[in-house]
Amino acid sequence: MSRRPYVREEGLRWIFRHPRYLRYMTREFSCLFIGAWTLMMVWGLKQLAEGPAAWSAFLEFLKSPASVVFHVVALAFAAYHSYTWFNLTPQALPLQIGEEFVPGAAIAGAHFAVWAVLTGVILYLAGAF
């Protein structure tokens, strides 16, 4: 009897082995749009520091069709990113009161509620209503 264990190379096949892996990759991929949007804001700050002309050029750029499309896509991915992560909070932050654990829906729900309130506050401060 001779031992000769065989190692199978996996490559990238795992992504398509089950829908959960595609969902996971979508969640991870969504952060690229959030990162790109953040870089755009850093660029905006730089334009603001450079003076009124640079700042108004930045504002004009924001109104361009390409920018609007990017913002819609980035918002959708940011919402998906937040939604998926908030749904995972009960696993990362379990809360035990006495013998019982607080239901996961309450923990995720609290995160969604704070998200909604903060979004409202930011929209209010930005003069949306």
């Binding site: 065989y6 199978r8 996996e10 089950h18 892996y21 379990p94 035990q96």
Partner: protein, 247 residues
């Protein structure tokens, strides 16, 4: 209940004669209540006695019969044939080297399990005459789900991180470390942190969550790993920013 014929495609590998694994197809006349393991036992007893696989209890307790069934990690004693359509593909657990046929080499997991010290390390040893280490129901519930782990390694076969980075200590071993860290009678957390609060430990996990989805005992290893991450982060900040708080 009636009988029907099921086609199984089983991955075969004989280290003495094969350069690589190949699929072999078997037709099995099975009963309604049969699971994949029953079909394998039927093949071994009546069609092909050379087929190798591990099993013991046939009741989802021993954790020996983990396999990939149609690409998904399953205990073959819990995978009912009636839930599958067409040809059922049976392979050894993913991410582990194949010893022979459906038997994998599990030394890596066993070594990792030892490293995380999955046993009680009492805060203070006391003689038996002083009685037992007492625990309230609430303290027991804090970690009880993690005691259900049967070391079947389905979570390792589901974890893409482990497949890509074999040094990762992985879901079950870290969950068992967490189980003892959460135990009110235990004082061994600092020793386990040396293994699990490292890059090869929890920080290799990117929370795919597949481990928890495939666990046949409904343990939630992904939860354990995230909780270890949070506690390790708090440790780091305490050590570096508020060292006076450290005991």
């Amino acid at each position: 209940m009636g009988e029907r014929t099921v086609e199984l495609e089983v991955l075969r590998y004989n280290p003495e004669t094969d350069s690589e694994p190949r699929f072999q197809r078997y037709s099995v006349v099975c009963r309604e209540e049969w699971v994949v393991l029953d079909a394998l036992n039927y093949i071994k007893e009546t069609i092909d006695p050379t087929l190798s696989y591990r099993w013991s209890c046939h009741m989802a307790v021993c954790g020996s019969c983990g396999m990939m069934v149609n690409g998904e990690p399953k205990l073959s004693c819990k995978a009912f044939l009636r839930n599958y359509e067409g040809v059922i593909r049976v392979e050894p657990l993913a991410h582990f080297p194949i010893e022979r046929d459906l038997v994998t080499v599990i030394d890596d997991f066993v070594d990792k399990l030892k490293r995380v010290k999955p046993y009680l390390i009492p805060k203070q040893e006391k003689p038996v005459s002083e009685g037992e280490y007492r625990q309230s129901p609430a303290e027991l519930k804090r970690f009880k789900q993690y005691t259900m782990c049967i070391n079947c390694m389905l979570c390792y076969a589901a974890c893409p991180e482990y497949g890509l980075i074999p040094k990762f200590i992985g879901p079950a071993a870290i969950s068992l470390a967490h189980r003892y860290n959460q135990d009110s009678r235990d004082g061994g957390r600092a020793e386990r942190q040396e293994e699990i609060a490292t890059t090869e430990g929890v920080w290799e996990c990117s929370f795919t969550g597949a481990c928890s989805e495939v666990c046949p005992e409904h343990v939630d290893p992904a939860a354990a790993l995230q909780q270890v991450k949070i506690r390790s982060t708090v440790d780091w900040y305490t050590d570096h920013l508020m060292p006076w708080l450290k005991k």
